[in-house]
């Protein structure tokens, strides 16, 4: 008898938790770095209020790493966990291509994009009914997870690299892709908060749908009872 496939593969589970930890550390040390200069600009340069498109609030110590203002220490945490984050994502992507996770669970089929189908998914979500037929994820989940894995997380890495002057000297074209260093910095900030929004929705939905079971499955793998 063929072995029962797990709901979450070992690669997915390890990455999920490593990524969760590194994203939390990157976000909180990032808020500390943001406190060093709270204005955001578009283009190559900017330093004064008249060039800024946004002035962000000062983030309090309980939300930052370390818990007091230290640009030097926050940058140490940030660039160290950037490695964990980026290499983790790369390894997860390789494993998810190889074990078919992307193709089987995340890629959408044309039929799923019919308006009636999309409305059905939204209505069921609003009714907090998370039972859905064949396939691990419904369309809304596929959009959310794909948006995070293929758009937001890579954007964080590449806009972060643009902000490094040593990296920029090696790969100057990357700065141009984002329209300048200050644009990259702004995009970095926007994507960080988009990830935060995902994090909140993700947590709420887990809490609404049998949280103990969900967390246990993401640790042990669970049983893939929706297959077939």
């Amino acid at each position: 008898m063929a072995k029962q496939r797990k709901k979450h593969s070992i690669g997915t589970r390890i990455w999920h938790w490593v990524n969760a930890l590194s994203v939390v550390i990157l976000f909180m040390s990032g808020l500390n770095i943001s406190n060093a200069h709270r204005r955001l600009y578009w283009g190559d340069w900017g330093f004064a209020a008249e060039q800024a498109w946004l002035e962000v609030p000062r983030f309090p110590g309980w939300a930052t790493i370390p818990g007091y203002y230290s640009l030097a220490s926050a940058r140490d945490w940030h660039v160290l966990f950037a490695w964990v984050f980026a290499l983790g994502l790369l390894l997860f992507m390789i494993s998810a291509v190889r074990n078919g996770h992307f193709k089987r669970d995340l890629f959408t089929r044309l039929a799923e994009w019919k308006p009636a189908h999309i409305w059905h998914d939204i209505r069921e979500h609003l009714k907090l009914n998370f039972e859905h037929g064949a396939g691990k994820f419904n369309l809304l989940q596929k959009i959310a997870y794909s948006g995070v894995i293929f758009v937001l997380l890579p954007l964080m890495i590449f806009t972060g690299m643009v902000m490094s002057p040593g990296m920029e000297a090696a790969w100057p074209w990357l700065t141009e892709v984002f329209g300048g260093r200050q644009s990259a910095r702004s995009i970095h900030f926007i994507c960080a908060w988009a990830l935060f929004a995902f994090f909140v929705v993700h947590l709420v939905l887990v809490l609404l749908s049998n949280p103990a079971r969900q967390i246990w499955d993401m640790i042990t793998g669970g049983r893939d009872d929706e297959a077939a």
Binding site: S34, H37, W45, R75, S164, E168, A169, A170
Partner: protein, 247 residues
């Protein structure tokens, strides 16, 4: 309610734990290792060419170039020098060299000049674009004759911040990089006081705190250990900023 308390406690213990780890020796060692990788990787990715910081057009220049850190040197000697147009300002070149030099501003102006329009990135996050002119540091170092044992170049400054003299340093790769210049002009004018008059370093592939202002001396050394606090720069000694500021 209970759940929220749990989340707050979780967040607080994460912050506390991180602060504790942040103070530990092994974390510092890990950060230092990562710093070495960053420098190595940045240099390696530019394979087969000299990795240059981007240069801009005149039309990209910021209308005003922000001054940060020291905006002047608070001594009578500096005020007098400023008054006299720095007629007697000298730049010494010493340490492990064959011919120690003392260069006046006129000497510096008569060396072959390089003009570059580059973006200055402060560690805090802001950027400004300016046109800098001055001799390449490599010319000055070749005149002085760098000895075999030299690994680092120290930049001595006239300004004193919070009781300590400002200084900085870089490796020989950056010292001999074509864009590393001793700038005496900003946007075609003598350096403004806030930007480091009369001389400042431009080390374009690193963040702003490496670009030492109010430059008085260049010193070639084999190790950073015996210089000031031993970490290679004012902010490195004082606040724990990374010595390699390419990130």
């Amino acid at each position: 309610m209970k759940r929220r308390n749990f989340l707050v406690a979780l967040g607080a213990s994460l912050v506390a734990g991180c602060s504790k780890i942040g103070d530990s020796q092994w974390f510092e060692a890990l950060v230092d290792t990562a710093e070495g990788w960053h420098r190595g990787i940045h240099r390696t990715l530019g394979v087969g060419r000299i990795a240059m910081a981007p240069e801009y057009e005149r039309s990209d220049i910021s209308p005003f170039f922000r001054g940060n850190g020291s905006r002047t040197v608070d001594t009578d000697a500096y005020r007098a020098a400023l008054e006299s147009g720095f007629a007697d300002w000298t730049l010494s070149v010493g340490g492990l060299v064959d011919n120690p030099l003392t260069l006046t501003l006129d000497d510096i102006r008569t060396l072959p000049q390089r003009t570059q329009i580059t973006r200055h990135d402060c560690v805090e996050g802001w950027s400004a674009i300016g046109e800098w002119t001055g001799p390449q540091l490599s010319h000055i170092l070749e005149q002085a004759g760098v000895q075999e044992a030299v690994r680092f170049v120290i930049f001595r400054c006239a300004d004193n911040l919070n009781g300590a003299d400002y200084y900085e340093s870089c490796d020989l790769d950056d010292a001999f990089h074509p864009q590393t210049i001793v700038a005496h002009l900003l946007n075609g004018e003598p350096l403004p006081e806030r930007n480091g008059a009369p001389l400042r370093m431009r080390i374009e592939r690193q963040l702003g705190y490496k670009h030492a202002k109010y430059l008085t001396g260049i010193e070639l050394v084999a190790s950073l250990e015996d210089v000031e606090g031993g970490k290679g720069g004012y902010w490195e000694d004082r606040a724990g900023y990374q010595w390699y500021a390419g990130i």
